[in-house]
Symmetry: C2
Subunit: 205 residues, 2 copies
């Protein structure tokens, strides 16, 4: 397809596509004449990935580049590659040598504590925010979320074993970036439904 | 306590506390002399709420004000009050008259479709992002998340029946704002754990 068609199918303006090409984020199309190049389905998938990360989830271009680099040249360990790719997604929180709150919670939940993995400082920062707000960080609450997320994660991760590392990185990054908002909206909708439907008594008027 | 102690206990600088007071977000303390005022536990709770919303979750002050107004003067319907308060939290997405993708998903999940409730446009926008990325929005995936969130929500909403509307608004807003990051970090940690522990095969190297 020509660049105009690539723009139409991806919803990304031609000027932006040219910017991605200049920045080395999108490979050049195959030249068919002095002024025209031909783009394929791989280009479309790449543009959609960049757009989902930068426009929808608001990632800085430096983080998008990090993810693209891992797709183009995965690290030697596949799990490490996935961890680094997902770690390029927000939220971006302060790093430290140790994360005592997260460590305790992760061990209690029977998960793996690996401080290099970005979700560890993210959990530390989330627990600290709860404490700072004067709320109690309760092991029963941890169990509630950890059990639900383990259940969800098992199904999500299952298809990865049949993928190449490159496909797995795209799957993990898009799955994380695009399904998080779905899950959060559904949680709010479930609260709302339980109260509106009278399945749970509302607060006293 | 004096304002210096309020600052110490909340971790919010005195200058910021004075700003909150000038802006009418934090009630003045009780004057004990021409230059000193006394603050109580209610002030501390209010400061922690404002800080959690504006500093931790990055809400614009106009949205924090909306939530404080609902706490100080709840609407006549308690469930409506809660819906509006939670609706002041991010993400902020485009509004429309109808949300066909969200409507179908909500009906399929057995939840309540009420387009005024902010999580409805949030879900619409999340599903549209999945489609735009060229991924299939799959009813089986919807069920996975809806079931998990319904389970989580049931326990979360249960205590609300014994609360005043004011307490319920604080509970719902802080519970939504502060536990969302916990849940998302645990989901990423569960993925990571399943792959690192070999419970699920990693991608081909």
């Amino acid at each position: 397809m020509r660049i105009s068609e690539l723009s139409k199918r991806s919803g990304v303006p031609v000027a932006t596509l040219k910017f991605y090409i200049r920045e080395g984020m999108l490979p050049r199309g195959e030249a068919v004449s002095a002024t025209n190049a031909e783009y394929g389905e791989d280009h479309l998938a790449r543009v959609r990935l960049i757009a989902a990360l930068s426009d929808v989830r608001g990632l800085p271009l430096s983080r998008v580049r990090e993810i693209l680099a891992l797709i183009d040249e995965p690290a030697s360990d596949p799990v490490d590659t996935l961890g680094r790719a997902v770690g390029a997604l927000p939220p971006y929180v302060e790093e430290a040598d140790d994360y005592p709150r997260a460590r305790e919670a992760i061990e209690r939940a029977g998960l793996t504590y690996e401080p290099r993995f970005a979700a560890v400082p993210q959990l530390e920062s989330a627990i600290r925010a709860i404490e700072d707000a004067g709320l109690r960080w309760d092991p029963a609450v941890l169990r509630r979320y950890a059990d639900a997320m383990r259940e969800v994660a098992r199904e999500e991760v299952a298809p990865i074993g049949d993928m190449t590392v490159t496909d797995a990185v795209v799957y993990a990054v898009l799955g994380t970036a695009l399904y998080e908002p779905v899950m959060l909206a559904l949680r709010r909708l479930a609260h709302h439904h339980l109260l509106v439907s009278g399945k749970v008594p509302p607060p006293e008027a």
